[in-house]
Symmetry: C2
Subunit: 267 residues, 2 copies
Amino acid sequence: MGQAVGEAAVRAGLELIPYSFCSSKDSKTKSQIDVGGISVELVGPGQDRDNLIKTLQSQYPNMITVDYTVPDVIHDMVDMYIKHGMPFVMGTTGGDRNRISKEVIESGVYAVIAPNMGKQIVAFQATMETMASNFPGAFSGYTLKVMESHQSSKKDTSGTAKAVVQSFQGLGLNFDVSQIQLIRQPPEQVNVMKVPESALLGHAFHTYQLLSPDGTVTFEFQHNVVGRSTYAEGTVDACLFLAQQVQERAPKTLYNMVDVLRAGAMR
Amino acid sequence: MGQAVGEAAVRAGLELIPYSFCSSKDSKTKSQIDVGGISVELVGPGQDRDNLIKTLQSQYPNMITVDYTVPDVIHDMVDMYIKHGMPFVMGTTGGDRNRISKEVIESGVYAVIAPNMGKQIVAFQATMETMASNFPGAFSGYTLKVMESHQSSKKDTSGTAKAVVQSFQGLGLNFDVSQIQLIRQPPEQVNVMKVPESALLGHAFHTYQLLSPDGTVTFEFQHNVVGRSTYAEGTVDACLFLAQQVQERAPKTLYNMVDVLRAGAMR
């Protein structure tokens, strides 16, 4: 994912600082990777890394770090951001989220942390939440059908679908997350969900169907993503947003994607 | 439409007062109609009607009048509601809306006035408005395709589609209401929009498709209505809401369907 973000950053005209902070395991396996034609050096933990960070901070005072690190080392990475006062954008769901939030706020390090960086998906999800709080019970008596399709290796239910279903519950729909239909078989993905064959190994398709008690009214909402570019683009948006907060010395330091979205069209 | 509302009111367990206030033309053509097995008397303008209203007001102190009158006589009807202090629910788009609003507010008569009484549709429309104001430009660069299908006799573009498109503009989509595709031919309605054949003479189907610049993300929203029952049910909800405001002597007197929805699940 880091690679896709690097490429999106270059596309957005940002300067990519050619270092990637990784686990000691990763830095031992490989010394560098290619990101959109730029050779990026992998740097594991240690005194050398601390020195490098200090050098980069003086060379690039507006540096923002993007973190899609594996869950195992997330807390170590957060410790590093705090130690050096490095603003960071983290797009992963691993680690102890409450602990990270607390540490970030207490240290005053600037960060955007979000489980989903696809800004339109986040906007849809937040909007359904708002709909439920504005119009409680507006869909009372309706029945709901939810289908979500992801690559067959994904075992658990989509977190986005679960969050949206929670909003539908607020709208009066009697529906439990266990009723969400997980589509994991390619034939069904192609025929029912209309996933392109080329996206069978990486996609996130969601369909929500609502039907009135007398069958005369139907609503359907779909959000379908193939590949990773939307998450990468959203991450770059989060970087631009965070850089602005740092520059303006905003009093708040911990943000999520809804904050990024509320800030409006940035590019 | 009045008939469908009467039937919905009876279904909701409300008492239907067996009089319908109509134009003098209508009351001369017919003297009574059947509403869900109840014989309802048509009463045109005049001294007799004024006397009848006074009698009904003393007999039924919680009386709410529902108005789906033809546009020609709307202002006469509003004059009548004001003269007698009759709370009313008006589901029509005719007349001079600003004038009516002003008169209602100045007179202190309680009213719900809305161009669309389908509460879930209204909730969706209001939610898209909120999305645009919360997340300006979130769909910047996306392309939009809007199709709306109604019975072939409807000549103009759907007002709901136009309102939703306005919200999409706020979300950053470059789209003009003139680009909305009006589907009025039955073969296309059946094959493209999936309108049931039985609903070709009365339906309101809307599809909004959003596509990201690189083609990797699609959103689709649909709201499809056949028949009139959802509008009738929403009208009864508005009546229940208005009765409550009257009973509580609420300081505000003029409401719309968003107010009804915000009040939450009423049944």
